[in-house]
């Protein structure tokens, strides 16, 4: 596996790049002086609790000021967050498609769940599988939630799509069988545009198909680091904080 196919290395690189960019963006979208003052006030009130600990009234007032200063600091720190959140959220959605799940492994079973518009269509629903994917059990119907579940197994690596037919109309859903880093869409949806933006990487299902969603239960990816198994977002959180801290110190940026 090349280095670029290592999820750990990718998370490291992403953490460095995003840590750097975010610190720079923070620098130019925040009121650095106000943040410095707010942080200084916070520290001063903390010190006041220690310095005047025998004066219970001072301790109480200082504690209230700590809470107030924390509010001010958070307000100041979150203003730049608002500037960066939109691009960053979309960027992370895209990264999550590569690093959030692993492709389907060969030789193991997995489930595909189709949700239909009405439960009467469940009996007519059929799935057409791509080459190398086989059905390992009969379909299970769950009329209460208008779902039909197929258990499948992939025998060969490759990118393909399965086809679900219900009420005479067919729709497809991508399927990724591999062991590397691939762009994965776990679900294809009808309507629910908001959810589609964040969790689906495929076009909307047509309204006439009678299918509301097709979901493949890809395994979640974990990354081994420091003797622990990490979800990529947690690892990214920790590493980007560390790199962000380094960059802010080197560049003299107040966060």
């Amino acid at each position: 596996m090349s280095l670029l196919h290592s999820p750990l290395l990718l998370v490291f690189l992403l953490s460095i790049v995003i840590g750097f960019l975010m610190v720079i963006v923070f620098r130019y979208t925040s009121d650095q002086k106000a943040i410095r003052v707010a942080k200084d006030h916070l520290k001063a009130h903390l010190l006041a609790v220690r310095l005047f600990q025998d004066q219970i009234q001072v301790v109480l007032i200082s504690y209230w000021r700590i809470v107030r200063s924390t509010g001010t600091y958070l307000r100041l720190a979150f203003m730049p967050l608002l500037y960066v959140s939109v691009p960053l959220i979309f960027l992370m959605v895209q990264i999550d498609r590569y690093l959030g799940y692993t492709p389907l492994p060969t030789g193991q079973t997995f489930l595909v769940t189709a949700k239909l518009a009405n439960s009467e269509a469940l009996d007519q629903a059929v799935v057409k599988l791509p080459d190398g994917v086989t059905l390992t059990a009969p379909a299970v119907h769950v009329p209460a939630v208008r779902e039909i579940v197929w258990r499948l197994s992939a025998d060969a690596k490759g990118t393909g799509s399965l086809e679900v037919t219900a009420a005479g109309q067919s729709v497809t859903k991508s399927l990724e069988v591999s062991d590397g880093i691939k762009r994965i869409s776990t679900i294809r949806l009808y309507d629910r545009w908001w959810e589609r933006i964040f969790v689906s990487a495929e076009p909307e299902l047509p309204a006439s198909s009678g299918v509301q969603s097709i979901e493949v239960n890809y395994p979640e990816r974990t990354i081994s680091f420091a003797w622990m198994e990490w979800n990529w977002i947690w690892l990214f959180f920790v590493l980007s904080l560390i790199f962000g801290f380094l960059f802010k110190t080197i560049l003299g940026i107040e966060i």
Binding site: S30, L47, P80, L81, S85, I89, V93, D96, I233
Partner: protein, 716 residues
């Protein structure tokens, strides 16, 4: 157009906020390290605050009981809950009375009418470090060991700072060309005696003490303290300003500053701030420097100053905020301080004044507060502030590097910082002692007396630019401050407004060394008619007396001084008597006035274990006269009397009887002739704390309750 931009900006903000809040997937809610830092550090702060508070709450009853127990053990019935002492260095009782009579000081007038006003006897000599040491210890200088700013080394005849000694670390490691210091610099306080807030602390009474002189290095006690006068700058001096200029002048400043060239490099000008000696240099004496750039913009009458990572744009005649300055010594060693820039000129020459590099209160390299975190606390609360003992740069005005306005701006900027500290201390000290000393009164009177007094020689050059209103304005500003404090004083609080000494004109200089030389008590080497500074070219084998510092005369005593010639005992006594009889009533030949009213014998003036460190005689000058600039620096000249032409035109280092301080109080003080030495025992007595046996002062009889809720008076 602007409104549209605003609207679209808010729409973006709302959209972003919606996306963040409504995003259903956990992984998408993280928006980079900025948010991470904000959330984590806020949570951490709250957690630490909670821990501190929990600790304070849980242990408070126990600590409160302990305090009560200590109070019971060491004290009687307290007459007051809180004492607020406002010290105004050099506030003069005669001027205060005059301005009160003119209706300029309504708050002091109110204190005088409803409480008390007295002249406050000062110390011998009436010099701030001496008087404030007596104020805090309640003893005469013979017991606290401070007789002047300077003391003399008997072995070298050279001066040293009387209040503190700063030495390098005890141990060092030599590696190649480097000498690596192991540990911190050693700071040794020379003032003896125990400040009265120490005794209050022993009795469980909390104190906030701000900028009282001669509190460096800070001593441990129950309370908080920020050191005042005598705190050095980063060079270890009492304030060395830096004047950077493109002018090719070679004349050095006499005192207090250094001239540094500015080099032109295209449109950019480069210069440097001289720092402390390199701690790693083997032989010492290699000065560290911090370089900076100036980028003038003559069209806008301004320049950009770039110092390390900080930059600021200054108009001509404007000060910068405090800027951090770092002096790198190699091997990761560095010294850190703060300074302000003042843009003096950009055309045709470029000139920048840089304040002495103050110890950074937020990251102090030397201890300037007790606990150490107190200076940090104040810096975090109010921003950086001047820490140098003599923070108002009188030397720069004397040397005409700063003009009157720039000097006043500096003084009142420092004063404003001090006011903030005082009001914070008042808020934090609801019971106990709150003492704060303001230096502005002293510095401004020193430098602006020339305009206040008709015909002062130092104002001859001023022509139409005289500023006689500066001193009345100063008193008015102090009165406003007192009014604001009075608002916060309740009937359980004693308010004292005190000064260490008064003020008089300094129009004529007296060089005692010249007089000693001309009268055969001090000899120069053959062929010399004048000496250099610090007795250069003095023939000690033929010298019986000499002077340095502001008021002291020293005899060259055999066995005490390195080359002493006067036998101790009868010869010393008869020489002292002889000098006193000749100097008492010494006349100024030009005016015919008496320049010296009295010369005091220190053996009769002081008592205590440190009398041996005192001068042998003290010169009490008449108002209008003072030791000459040369005489203070141990220089022998041909002129005994001469005009004082410097901006430093008012003074108080004269006969102490001529310059008492002020004592205003919100309670009646029955004593007719109170002295500064009485303040410490009075405060202890009012708090019901037993008086230590070595006090020289006597507690006053303070009667009645404080005036309830004294609001500030309004101007008529």
């Amino acid at each position: 157009m602007r409104r549209e931009r605003e609207t679209s900006r808010w729409l973006c903000v709302l959209l972003a906020l919606s996306l963040v809040l409504l995003s259903p997937v956990q992984s998408h809610a993280y928006a980079g390290p900025g948010a991470g830092f904000a959330v984590l550090s806020s949570l951490w702060t709250l957690f630490v605050a909670f821990l501190y508070s929990a600790y304070a709450f849980l242990t408070w009853p126990l600590r409160h009981l302990l305090r009560l127990f200590r109070r019971r053990q060491s004290s009687g019935k307290a007459q007051i809950k809180r004492a607020v002492i406002l010290g105004f260095d050099g506030m003069d009782p005669e001027l205060a009375q005059r301005f009160i009579a003119e209706g300029k000081l309504p708050n002091l007038a109110k204190l005088q009418q409803q409480g008390s006003f007295h002249k406050l006897r000062t110390t011998y000599p009436p010099i701030s470090p001496v008087a404030w040491s007596t104020f805090m210890t309640g003893v005469n200088p013979g017991k606290h060991n401070i007789y002047d700013f300077l003391a003399r080394d008997e072995k070298s005849y050279l001066p040293f700072l009387s209040s503190a000694e700063i030495k390098g670390p005890k141990r060092s490691l030599k590696i190649g060309k480097y000498t690596i210091p192991l540990g911190k610099a050693q700071v040794k306080g020379m003032r003896r005696g125990t400040p009265f807030w120490h005794w209050l602390g022993k009795a469980g009474i909390f104190s906030s003490v701000i900028r009282v002189p001669v509190t460096f290095p800070p001593e441990k006690f129950e309370g908080v303290l920020l050191s005042g006068m005598c705190v050095p700058d980063l060079k270890g001096s009492q304030g060395t300003f830096c004047f950077c200029t493109t002018r090719k002048e070679v004349e050095k400043f006499r005192e207090g500053g250094v001239r540094v060239p500015i080099e032109r490099d295209g449109k950019t000008y480069r210069s440097y701030i001289p720092g402390p000696d390199d701690p790693l240099a083997e032989s010492g004496g290699r000065e560290l420097r911090s370089e900076f750039e100036i980028r003038p913009d003559p069209a806008k009458h301004q320049a950009e100053v770039i110092l390390d990572t900080e930059r600021c744009t200054l108009k001509v005649g404007e000060y910068s905020d405090w800027m951090s300055v770092k002096f790198k010594a190699g091997l990761g060693f560095s010294a850190r301080g703060i300074c302000k820039f003042y843009l003096k000129e950009i055309t045709p020459e470029v000139e920048v004044y840089v304040t002495p590099v103050n110890i950074d209160p937020g990251k102090p390299d030397l201890p300037i507060a007790h606990p150490v975190t107190y200076s940090i606390y104040l810096a975090k609360l109010f921003g950086p502030y001047a820490t140098l003992g003599l923070a108002e740069d009188t030397w720069a005005l004397n040397e005409k590097v700063l003009d009157d306005d720039a000097f006043l701006a500096q003084c009142y900027s420092n004063h404003h910082d001090r006011e903030q500290m005082l009001f914070d201390a008042l808020e934090k000290t609801k019971s106990g002692l709150c003492a704060c000393v303001f230096d502005t009164t002293d510095r401004v009177q020193h430098m602006f007396w020339r305009y206040f007094e008709e015909g002062h020689p130092a104002a001859r050059e001023a022509n139409g630019n005289k500023r006689p209103e500066v001193i009345p304005d100063l008193y008015r500003k102090m009165d406003d401050l007192i009014g604001k404090v009075m608002k916060q004083v309740d009937s359980d609080t004693l308010l004292l407004v005190v000064s260490d000494h008064g003020f008089k004109s300094f129009a004529r200089c007296v060089n005692i060394n010249a007089w000693l030389h001309q009268n055969g008590y001090l000899a120069l080497k053959t062929g010399r008619t004048e000496s250099g500074d610090w007795f250069e070219d003095v023939d000690w084998s033929r010298t019986r007396a000499y002077t340095m510092g502001l008021n002291g005369i020293y005899l060259n005593v055999k066995g005490r001084e390195r080359e002493g010639v006067v036998q101790s005992g009868t010869e010393v006594e008869s020489l002292k008597e002889e000098l006193r009889s000749k100097l008492d009533g010494l006349q100024d030949p030009e005016s015919g006035k008496v320049g010296i009213t009295n010369v005091f014998d220190c053996d009769a003036t002081y008592a205590g274990p440190y009398v041996e460190n005192a001068p042998d005689l003290l010169v009490g000058y008449t108002a209008g006269y003072r030791a000459s600039w040369d005489s203070v620096m141990g220089k022998v000249t041909t002129q005994i009397f001469e005009d004082n032409l410097r901006a430093w035109s008012g003074d108080h280092c004269i006969d102490p009887r001529e310059v008492p301080g002020v004592l205003f109080s919100n309670r009646k003080i029955a004593d007719e002739n109170p002295a500064i030495v009485d303040i410490a025992p009075t405060i202890l007595k009012l708090f019901g704390v037993a008086l230590p046996g070595n006090f020289d002062g006597k507690p006053w009889t303070v009667t009645g309750e404080s005036l309830p809720k004294m609001g500030p008076a309004a101007f008529p």
